[in-house]
């Protein structure tokens, strides 16, 4: 059954033991992301210096997919340049739409574990919550979009 493909080990591991799910006192960029339709929400907390994501964390509440996806994302983007993180976000969102090449997929590392979500329209929003919040935070587009507020 396809559903069980995406509750795979990578996802459950990040859900049960999220490395980055904690507060981050020194964060200088904090944004709340909400999925109104299902109630998933996270606070994404980043420490961005000289265009580089020096550290990151999140707190929040929601299904395994939303929480694990945020954790995997932070694994991937911490230590990267802002532009590089945005490129990854773009890759991820395109993966979810099902339009990535195998090669591009590799660039997403563990995040590629979520690729089967594209078959589950009801859960897509869960998987992209972290990434959308990241994009908006980095683009400084933080007053846009309903349900997204600067803390």
């Amino acid at each position: 059954m396809e559903t069980n493909r995406f509750y795979n080990e990578i996802l459950t591991e990040h859900n049960l033991h999220p490395e980055h799910k904690h507060d981050l006192a020194e964060a200088n960029l904090v944004l709340e992301g909400v999925n109104p339709s299902c109630g998933d929400h996270i606070y994404l907390k980043l420490l961005v210096e000289d265009g580089r994501i020096c550290d990151g964390a999140f707190v929040g509440d929601g299904c395994a997919i939303s929480q694990a996806s945020a954790d995997i994302m932070l694994d991937l983007v911490i230590g990267r340049e802002k532009e590089e993180a945005l490129r990854l976000a773009d890759l991820f969102l395109r993966m979810i739409q099902g339009s990535l090449t195998e090669e591009e997929l590799d660039g997403l590392e563990e995040a590629s574990a979520l690729q089967d979500i594209s078959h589950m329209p009801a859960r897509v929003k869960c998987a992209v919550l972290g990434w959308h919040t990241l994009e908006e935070a980095l683009n400084g587009n933080i007053s846009a979009g309903p349900g997204v507020n600067l803390e």
């Binding site: 059954m1 396809e2 559903t3 069980n4 509750y7 080990e9 459950t12 591991e13 859900n15 049960l16 299902c38 109630g39 998933d40 509440d61 929601g62 299904c63 395994a64 997919i65 589950m120 859960r123 869960c126």
Partner: protein
């Protein structure tokens, strides 16, 4: 063990008959028997015209179909007369009609509206609106964590200023029958009107508006094996008669001038615009079907399935069922949580095994807050479900924590 072949009702439901899914979301919407689909088709193929206004035979026959459906609803809920039955789109519209045409008119600053904390949003938001607009006070009737409402809580909830009580006959989370007669008698003492949300009761238990003594009652066709897009509001004639109309336009008038209108008699006063006569015909077929099965048989089968599911769930570690310990006090509804697993994941994993259950706040967020959870999963059984389906459901639930990476579940 009963399976598909020895559930005699199964074959009446085309969607179930080809078995695409184990459908356990019956409290959200029922499946429709073939005769309901057929009744709408027959309406369109043999009686289709705009009812009420035509002087030709096709329109007369459409009108007869529509009015016959009204009569069938009247008999089902034992209303005094067909004029007390108003066709709406769904429970939500029925409750909004009541809020706008009764609530806004007859409540005033200082009055109290008593709503239970377990109300579906559809029986809460309209009263929040009325309270806001009239400055009446919205007061909550509390309940125990298992859904019971105690006499103490009733005494707490009612006051001398209570003027309207809005309450579910059966909550869509607990599945327990609320003490409506007691509530009506307390309301009567204070001259308060009682609005009963019967969305979850009419599909499961006999409902008699006169015996209950409620003033308004609302339910939806689609939860009652009927089509979508048709609902019912019952109102006591005396109240309906003095209430102003809600929606205005064609069909609900007696005469119109540039500056005003004289409204039609009941029930037409509340049915503006072209009616959903095909939907009404479908609902009538659903009611006839349901009566043929019989409330007793429905209750017996649903209780058996609930009993199997409830005792099965109780044996699974980390699973918590909300509500009564007795299967017969659930109207086929089992709401549950699993430690460490988000209800949306529960639902998704069950879906992976071909089982449809609901997850979320069940349009009852204040109740979720009251219970200290943000959401939950809900399996709801109907008489057309089978023991095999319940077994498959239990098996799938048993595997959920393991699939989510917890090491504590034995593989069965």
């Amino acid at each position: 063990m009963e399976n598909k072949r020895n559930n005699p009702y199964r074959k009446d439901f085309p969607l179930l008959d080809c078995d695409p899914v184990i459908y356990l979301d019956n409290a959200a919407t029922a499946q429709r028997p073939g005769c309901v689909i057929e009744a709408e088709k027959t309406f369109y193929e043999q009686h289709n015209a705009n009812p009420m206004r035509g002087f030709y035979r096709l329109s007369v026959s459409a009108t007869e179909k529509y009015e016959s459906a009204r009569k069938t609803v009247q008999e089902l809920i034992h209303a005094e007369s067909p004029e007390e039955i108003i066709f709406t789109r769904n429970t939500t519209e029925s409750l909004n009609l009541t809020a706008y045409s009764y609530g806004l008119q007859y409540l005033k600053a200082g009055d109290e509206i008593l709503v239970s904390v377990m109300e579906h949003h559809s029986n809460l938001l309209p009263w929040q609106m009325v309270a806001r607009q009239t400055n009446a006070r919205l007061k909550f009737l509390e309940c125990l964590p298992d859904g019971r409402i105690t006499e103490e809580q009733l005494q707490e909830g009612f006051s001398d200023r209570t003027r309207l009580v809005a309450i579910a006959h059966i909550s869509n989370v607990f599945g327990r029958v609320n003490p409506i007669k007691r509530i009506v008698s307390m309301a009567r003492e204070r001259g308060a009107a009682v609005v009963l949300d019967a969305a979850q009761s009419v599909p499961h238990i006999p409902v008699d508006v006169k015996e209950l003594g409620v003033d308004f009652l609302a339910f939806s066709g689609h939860k009652l094996l009927g089509p979508m897009g048709i609902g019912v509001l019952y109102g006591r004639r005396e109240l309906l008669e003095k209430m102003p109309p809600f929606l205005t336009g064609g069909e609900m008038i007696q005469s119109v001038t540039r500056t005003g209108a004289v409204f039609a008699e009941l029930p037409y006063k509340f049915e503006a615009g072209t009616v959903n006569a095909a939907g009404a015909a479908g609902l009538e077929a659903a009611i006839h079907y349901m009566k043929k099965v019989g409330y007793e048989e429905i209750h017996r089968r649903e209780t058996e399935l609930t009993s199997q599911a409830l005792s099965g769930l109780k044996k699974i570690p980390h699973v918590h069922v909300i509500g009564s310990d007795l299967p017969e006090e659930h109207a086929g509804i089992l709401t549950f949580t699993i430690d460490g697993v988000h209800p949306h994941d529960i639902s998704a994993i069950l879906d992976g095994d071909g089982i449809a259950v609901r997850a979320g706040h069940h349009c009852a967020q204040p109740l979720m807050q009251h219970l200290g959870i943000s959401s939950s999963a809900r399996a709801s059984f109907s008489f057309y479900n089978t023991e095999n389906e319940v077994s498959a459901f239990l098996k799938s639930v048993e595997g959920i924590r393991r699939k989510m990476g917890y090491g504590d579940e034995p593989i069965l």
